[in-house]
């Protein structure tokens, strides 16, 4: 198992490297960033001054390795817009995004897992069909639209929950719920099919022949085996959700990394965009590696 994980870790490092290059190239894909920073009215001298100030006049490879080197030490450059170190900006906003992601994942698991189990136990019957329908509808729902509709509902009609900002933990409920909808269909389907397969397995038949209680059979024996792929998917979904936080944060006005990224993109604040792309990619890579480790832990067959 350790050899397997080592291979995965090496692969992760290689992917990181590729993402670094991609992220770096991203901001230079349309040409000279100095032009964008300087604005349409700038003179050639102004543009050149900006170039020198931000080190954009050096050869590309030099810029790249310089950036990587600094990033490794925690220096992600300075934001053109805020004139602050990017690292500070990100550090201030990361907790909000991470909390949002975790709340979203929590909602997704709390909703999808029980529903998936219930659907599996009632396979083919009305309850199963209803649950499958819900998954289908959830998949087609645009998250930003759902967010807006909920804002109208809770902001205008029922005044139960805050609809913008995060004064306290309740501000994460609505956005977290909307975010969870993107992960629920996949988790639901996987849980359901995993449970159906588990319940039809020979070892469940043995458990029944041993007279074990229904609760033990479903929750302990079947669920344990159905859980393994779900864990991997859950980690991946968290990664996607963090990527999708950009939409939710703009809709609900949450001061997170996603909102920062959106502001930076629309205002061509390249150092920030570069850094956030890198950060999100690193988190995703870390999550998938963690999912592999968790899988190895859960499945004794992988440990040998």
């Amino acid at each position: 198992m350790w050899r397997f994980l080592l291979r995965r870790a090496v692969l992760a490092v290689l992917v990181c490297g590729t993402v670094l290059v991609l992220s770096f190239s991203l901001t230079r894909v349309a040409g000279d960033p100095a032009l964008a920073v300087a604005g349409p009215q700038a003179s050639a001298a102004d543009i050149q001054a900006i170039r020198v100030a931000y080190g954009l006049d050096r050869p590309l490879p030099t810029q790249f390795f310089d950036w990587v080197g600094k990033a490794a030490r925690g220096d992600l450059g300075r934001s053109y817009l805020f004139r602050e170190p990017v690292a500070n900006l990100v550090r201030d906003r990361l907790p909000v995004t991470l909390t949002l992601g975790l709340v979203g994942l929590a909602f997704a698991l709390v909703i999808a897992l029980p529903l998936g189990i219930v659907a599996a136990l009632n396979e083919g019957r009305p309850l199963d069909r209803v649950v499958t329908l819900v998954a289908l509808l959830g998949q087609a729902l645009p998250s930003f639209w759902l967010g807006l509709m909920l804002i109208i509902l809770f902001g205008l009609r029922l005044q139960w929950l805050p609809i913008a900002g995060v004064e306290d933990w309740t501000g994460f409920i609505l956005p977290g719920l909307v975010l969870s909808f993107s992960a629920i269909p996949a988790l639901l389907r996987l849980t359901r099919s995993g449970m159906i397969d588990a319940m039809a397995s020979d070892y469940i038949r043995t458990a029944r022949a041993g007279g074990l209680s229904r609760a033990s059979i479903v929750c302990k024996h079947a669920a344990r085996n159905a859980a393994m792929p779900v864990v991997a998917i859950a980690a991946v979904q968290l990664g996607f959700m963090l990527g999708g936080s950009i939409v939710i944060e703009t809709v609900f006005n949450l001061p997170g990394v996603g909102y920062l990224a959106w502001e930076s993109v629309s205002k061509n604040d390249f150092p920030v965009v570069q850094a956030v792309v890198l950060l999100l990619a690193l988190i995703y890579i870390g999550l998938t590696l963690g999912a592999d480790m968790l899988n190895a832990l859960l499945d004794p067959r992988l440990r040998a």
Partner: protein
């Protein structure tokens, strides 16, 4: 066939398991059509037949382990004298693993890969007997030793995938015996194992039976297994028990045409001459739908008559020897 109706069980005690008139239907297929059998303490009763004859279904019907879409009806089903036909799943669950044990054909997939052998065994024990984990572990270790495993302590902490097929089957047997059941149902326990391993398992089962006075219902399609361990044999075909007799008698004097065909098709070293053709039964096992009347074997039987299309009478060929046929 069933006690009270057949001829040969006079003077012996109540059978541990008595089934009369078992019928099982899946959708449009009649898998079991009025099967009856009885198993006594200390007796190995082999239920033999080819695939699809309904023998596994019968065993599962007794245990209440049929698929949700199965419809079961039975004239009488008694375990240790008490009626179990009317029990719901929860009540039946109290008997399963405790008074009645069952082992299955596929040892490779019949154990949960996520839990250790020990935890699976102790869970069954503590479900029915309660008590401390310590006592359950001790019992599990002693049973593993009893089924012939060296180093039980090590095995208890291992996961199923770390054991070979033969070892897993021994674990299954030990697990089924954790609560000292009166009846053990073994559904093709050796079919998926190597020939060399089979003999060991059969010997183990025979030994355990002698020691614990188990009633053993052994389901198999292999006449070799029957010859080796059976005290009593019931031959099943197309959902019915077509012949039932003490083992020695069945081999000496098979009466039902199907049984005779079956025995004739097994090559016996020394008895078969090189130029003799090996017997075989032409045709295939039919799929019986609802409303089928008469003998299920008539399309393949060399002695079929017009009257075979009507309800078939139960006849006796000797003490404790019954068969279902129009022929006398």
């Amino acid at each position: 066939m069933g006690c009270g109706t057949c001829s040969g069980c006079a003077g012996v005690s109540e059978p541990v398991l008595a089934v009369e008139g078992l019928r099982v239907r899946f959708g449009g297929v009649e898998a079991v059509r009025g099967a009856s059998l009885a198993v006594r303490a200390g007796e190995t009763h082999c239920l033999v037949g080819e695939s699809g004859c309904g023998k596994s279904v019968s065993a599962r019907a007794v245990m209440g382990l049929l698929a949700p879409n199965a419809v079961r009806s039975v004239g009488a089903m008694r375990f240790e004298g008490a009626d179990i036909a009317g029990l719901n799943d929860r009540a039946m669950g109290k008997l399963r693993g405790d008074r009645i044990g069952m082992i299955f054909q596929e040892p490779m997939t019949s154990l949960n890969p996520a839990y250790t052998v020990g935890s699976q065994m102790t869970e069954v024990y503590r479900r029915h007997r309660g008590g401390q984990q310590r006592a359950a572990v001790d019992r599990a270790a002693s049973l593993l030793a009893r089924v012939g495993m060296a180093n039980p302590g090590l095995r208890l902490g291992q996961f199923p995938h770390q054991l070979s097929g033969g070892l897993r089957q021994r674990v299954m047997i030990a697990m089924a015996l954790m609560c000292e059941p009166r009846l053990l149902i073994a559904d093709e326990p050796t079919t998926a194992l190597d020939v060399t391993v089979q003999a060991g398992i059969l010997r183990l089962l025979a030994g355990l039976q002698a020691e614990m006075g188990l009633a053993l219902l052994l389901i198999t399609h292999d006449l070799g297994v029957v010859a080796r361990v059976a005290h009593r044999v019931s031959v099943m075909y197309a959902g019915q028990v077509v012949e039932s007799a003490p083992a020695a008698e069945l081999f000496a004097a098979p009466t039902h045409p199907y049984t005779r065909g079956l025995l004739a098709s097994v090559p016996v070293p020394g008895k078969v001459r090189r130029d003799e053709k090996l017997g075989s039964i032409p045709g295939t096992v039919p799929r019986i739908g609802p409303g089928f009347v008469g003998c299920g074997f008539r399309d393949r039987c060399a002695h079929a008559m017009a009257v075979c299309a009507e309800a078939v009478p139960l006849r006796q060929a000797g003490a404790g020897h019954d068969y279902l046929c129009q022929l006398t």
